[in-house]
Amino acid sequence: MTETALQQTTARPKDAPWLSLKYREMLEAWLFISPTLIGFLIFFLGPLVAVVYYSMTEWNLLTQQATFVGLDNFHDALFVNPDFWHVVRNSVIFALGLVPLNMALALTLALALSRPFFGVVFFRTVFFAPVITSAIAWAIVWKFLLQGEAGAVNQMLAWIGIDGPNWLREPNWAMAAVIVTRVIKMVGLNMILYIAALQAIPRDYEEAARLEGASRWQIFRMIIWPLLAPTTLVIMVITTIGSFKVFDHIYQMTGGGPENGTLVLAYYIYQQGFEFFDVGYASALAMIMFIIVMVLTVVQVTVRRRGMQ
């Protein structure tokens, strides 16, 4: 038996495939990935490299073509153009206002809605509804609600004796209005992330703590909050980066005004690139945005790593 087998070992069988199984698998894997990869290279990685180059050129309606100017655009932004720091200031204010408000409200709502009770589905549905709504539609409606004297918000405030400001005509109020309406639009997303995290915490912990005499606040402060830390960090990263990307909401609600009071980075890029066609300068702004986002990500991931050790 063994010998007959050995005699027939020499030649490769006719039906053996042209590639060994291992390489065949590799080839198949790359074929599976190729649509994603090719699209990714063309529409993401390529443009990302291009924007680095663009940012170092002078390229606008006057020049009509790209001339290499090194870091001039960055110099312009950081040291010459007064708008830039104003825009950065707006973006930071927007983020500093939006992120804590969003997260605090999301966590509060999640704590209230993570346990079943009568009406829990209703409330979850309500608080999440703006998330699936188009930002443009949301901004259109709020723009009406926030009109000066005739707007519904001010009319309602008048019932309780408050003389509301002309929200969208005064820079500071406009910023506040944009932040709050954005929070209302997006808070549902963080809320459900928190609910999912809360529901993943075993009840045993809380029950054990209660037997040991911990109050509700102590249970939250000493058990739930620490266990939520990874979720909190993820939500913080997503929300912060999200706040730097906001464009459609502001475009529709204030158009960056009044007096550039709500002109944030994403909007500024659009304005410089597509309204003023200053491609080089806009690309430099895009690079700055890229760096900000990367730094935020790295910082937050590092914090998370350290927290885990």
Partner: protein, 346 residues
Amino acid sequence: MTGLVLKDLKKRFGGTQVIRGVDLTIEDGEFTVFVGPSGCGKSTLLRMIAGLEDITSGELYIGNRLMNDVQAAKRGVAMVFQSYALYPHLNVRDNMGFGLKVRKVPVAERERRVKEAAATLKLDALLHRYPRELSGGQRQRVAIGRAIVGNPDVFLFDEPLSNLDAELRVHMRSEIASLHKRLSTTMVYVTHDQIEAMTLADKIVVLRDGLIEQVGSPRELYERPGNLFVAQFIGSPKMNILPAASTRLLAPSSTPPASAESVGVRPEHLVVVEPSDNVLRGSIALNEYTGAVTLLHVELPDGSTCLVVHDGKDLPAFGSEIGLMADPQNLHFFDRNEVAAKNRSG
């Protein structure tokens, strides 16, 4: 003729060598069991035969065809998985017929073969059920049925009984044995349970650390283990290993080979006698009553423990002194390298 020939098979995962050169011949129609402790590579070896793992080096022949680079489905083998791997979205009939459908077997033929297999395995009444609606034993049978319908040249079983409870395991074991009798197809079966190996196998392959320790019939492995590892792995309870010097007391008429370093004797081969200076003495440290027999834990003078299977008549009391003896032909000698030591006389 669908025997298997493995020639110097090797498998490497990254830096770790899992299979380190296996040479093995499996005859047509033979029931072969790969057995060994966990991590010995037995499942990997089976998966290499199946075509689920690629072969790093060496050659694999199934029915005299080189199979190294042939796809799993074209090797003429069928596999029964540990978790059964039934498709949750298909009912029993479609699960069993799936392979035939993929291979474009005509519907009528497919139906016939599924029915046949279902009848053999008493699954007729369950054909429309989904896997989640079946008990463990039924799922197991469906998994076997799926293997049968393809008419494979070789059946591969990867620890198929390990997810069943004890009673069902014994039952399915006998079903697999009778299945083999009926089909007389080559079967390769992986298990870590040596009882399963002993009861099912025509040929047992004992593996350790990616190498074959010994190949042989259950009787051969039990009666003539090739080395200390096999001696202790096959048989339950484990073989006792004593210094070769103990032979003089255990069986005065026996003459150990010159190279013998240690002597092994199975618990069921030790006989309890009156203690005296001419026998191996010990004291009872623990009695484990199991019903049919009682397992004595005997503490020897050197502090080691020796197991004895006792029929329960005149059971020595806890703490009492006893003597132990054995038939010379039931002794196994091992040399310095833990390999069976041979008497020149044979």
